[in-house]
């Protein structure tokens, strides 16, 4: 496990900072043992079904519906969490008000709170007889728990720290000079925000959106209590994986897992490309 592993062609290449071989060995071993080999199993298992079988297993309307729901809800949740995250980041970085430090710390709460606990709490709150669900139902006739809306709310909770925490450092870094420059050039405050601040933050917002989406799309613990789990309506893809597992359909379960992984990758890749285009447009 030395540098030769990484560089088969140049056995003894000189490195500026020593210690690469050992560290790279550890990193590679750790990565392979914990991530790569397990995911390889996920990659290979579905093909036991054969390509046609794999396709049939994924083309089933319920699977398609659950994938649509999982990805749709996650995208929507990330889209809601992005402006909320921007708002929180802005408040924490730019505004001074009592309780700012508490709000700052609270942003990480969904990171630290176990997802099952979050799910239970959300359900307790949003159920038709809960603190929030009750008034919502009584006053507006809205039902949130056990509907896709409940899923989206749970996912917003999960995605929020990702969107807020990616924007925050960039905002902190941005400083006020460019805004001041814009002001001296005669821009109104709104023009400054729209044409100077927002574009500067856009890549970070996009990154946060992507991370929040990635985290939300696979979420299980906090969603399962509140989802309602109705086939074709509020059944998320991870639940379908468990359902398949319970029918002893390992390959089918892995197939959905693989599909989720690939779809998530495609979305993240698209975001990455969009971000690169965004940066290029600015550079």
């Amino acid at each position: 496990m030395s540098a030769s592993l990484a560089l088969p062609h140049r056995a003894r290449r000189l490195r500026a900072i020593p210690g690469f071989g050992l560290a790279f060995g550890i990193a590679l071993f750790w990565l392979s043992a914990i991530v790569l080999v397990p995911l390889l199993a996920l990659l290979l298992r579905p093909f036991e079904l054969g390509l046609a079988g794999l396709w049939a297993s994924l083309a089933e309307p319920r699977v398609a519906a659950s994938l649509r729901l999982s990805f749709g809800a996650a995208l929507l949740a990330a889209a809601i969490a992005a402006p909320l995250g921007l708002l929180l980041a802005w408040a924490v970085v730019r505004l001074r008000f009592p309780g700012r430090a508490v709000l700052d710390a609270a942003i990480d709460l969904p990171f630290a709170l176990p997802t099952a606990v979050a799910g239970l709490a959300m359900t307790a709150l949003l159920a038709p007889n809960g603190w929030v669900g009750g008034p919502l139902g009584e006053w507006f006739g809205w039902r949130v728990a056990f509907t896709p809306a409940g899923i989206v709310i749970a996912l917003v909770f999960v995605a929020l720290p990702f969107t807020a925490r990616t924007v925050e450092p960039v905002l902190r870094d941005l400083g006020r000079e460019s805004e001041e420059a814009a002001a001296t050039l005669g821009a109104t405050r709104f023009q400054t925000l729209r044409r100077v601040v927002l574009p500067a933050l856009a890549p970070a917002i996009l990154t946060g959106f992507g991370l929040g989406f990635a985290r939300a799309v696979g979420e299980y613990g906090s969603v399962i209590f509140i989802a309602g789990n109705m086939p074709m309506v509020s059944e998320i893809a991870p639940l379908l994986i468990t359902i398949r597992l319970e029918q002893f359909d390992y390959a089918g379960a892995a197939a959905i897992g693989l599909a989720m992984l690939l779809l998530a990758f495609a979305v993240l890749l698209a975001l990455n490309l969009a971000q690169r285009a965004l940066r290029r447009g600015q550079g």
């Binding site: 089933e60 309307p61 319920r62 519906a65 359900t123 159920a127 038709p128 007889n129 809960g130 728990a145 056990f146 399962i224 309602g228 789990n229 109705m230 086939p231 074709m232 059944e235 639940l239 468990t242 359902i243 597992l245 319970e246 029918q247 002893f248 359909d249 089918g252």
Partner: protein, 334 residues
Amino acid sequence: MRSTFRPGRRAMLAAPALLALPARAQGVRELLNVSYDPTREFYRDYNAGFAREWQAQHRQTLRINTSHGGSGRQARSVIDGLAADVVTLALAYDVDAIAERGLIARDWITRLPQNSAPYTSTIVFLTRKGNPKGLRDWPDLVKPGVAIITPNPKTSGGARWNYLAAWASAQKHGQNPEEFLARLFRQVPVLDTGARGSTTTFVQRGQGDVLLAWENEAHLALQEFGAGQFDIIYPPLSILAEPSVAVVDGNVDRRGTRDLAEAYLRGLYAPAGQEAAAKHFYRPRDQALLQKNAERFPTLELVTIDGAFGGWAEAQRVHFNDGGVFDRIYRPGR
């Protein structure tokens, strides 16, 4: 730097040691019973009695571990290597699934009396106090405005019994059973993954007008949440639910626990086991005991899975497998 890390490292090593249980005494034998959700309370009672008796007879301390969860998930865990000595699951189908992988002898169902089901149950309605919607029989459930709570038959054994009971009733009333079930499931607002989840949704979250539940779950809900809030309604016809028990041959032979496992299951048929079952609202096989508790276990017409559906394998294939009737119910466009 160095000085700040050291105590941390020590504390980290110390923490688990602090909580560690004392080393297990010698001569302790262990048994793992992998069961499904609603049996927790029952087996906690039964385990205590059985361990006492075993201790008295064999001078061995027993430590009986239990694992509870959805019946299907539990069967899957055993298939994947959970080292269960006995399984006590909701359906014969789940035990069959384990047997198919060679961990249990194929003829398991005949190895113990009465289809290897030492206690039975049935499916009943749990309604709000006073049964405000007037639900007496299965056809009442699909009246407009009735919200039904039942778990997902794909993930819950109990839900499959619910489903089949409804099917049998529709057949008896001369309705198209598939249409009846489609209507019924359209009135289900929440489809939990397990029987316990459904009970919580109905009782705790106040969802729905009626919960389709195991008889024992309904009684337990009354006991836990106050008898004044709910009524148990017995429909004229329901299904005989036979939760199956079996020794996991592959594991007991490896672990040397066959004697213990077999005694454990046989004990379920013994008076103590039957009484514990009755106490926890499972219908005992012992007819005398059943008569004695007639008030708790009213007589009703019960169809059997073998009689009405041609056995579990067939029922599973027709109704619950991917592409089966249950999936058709949720086809878009209906």
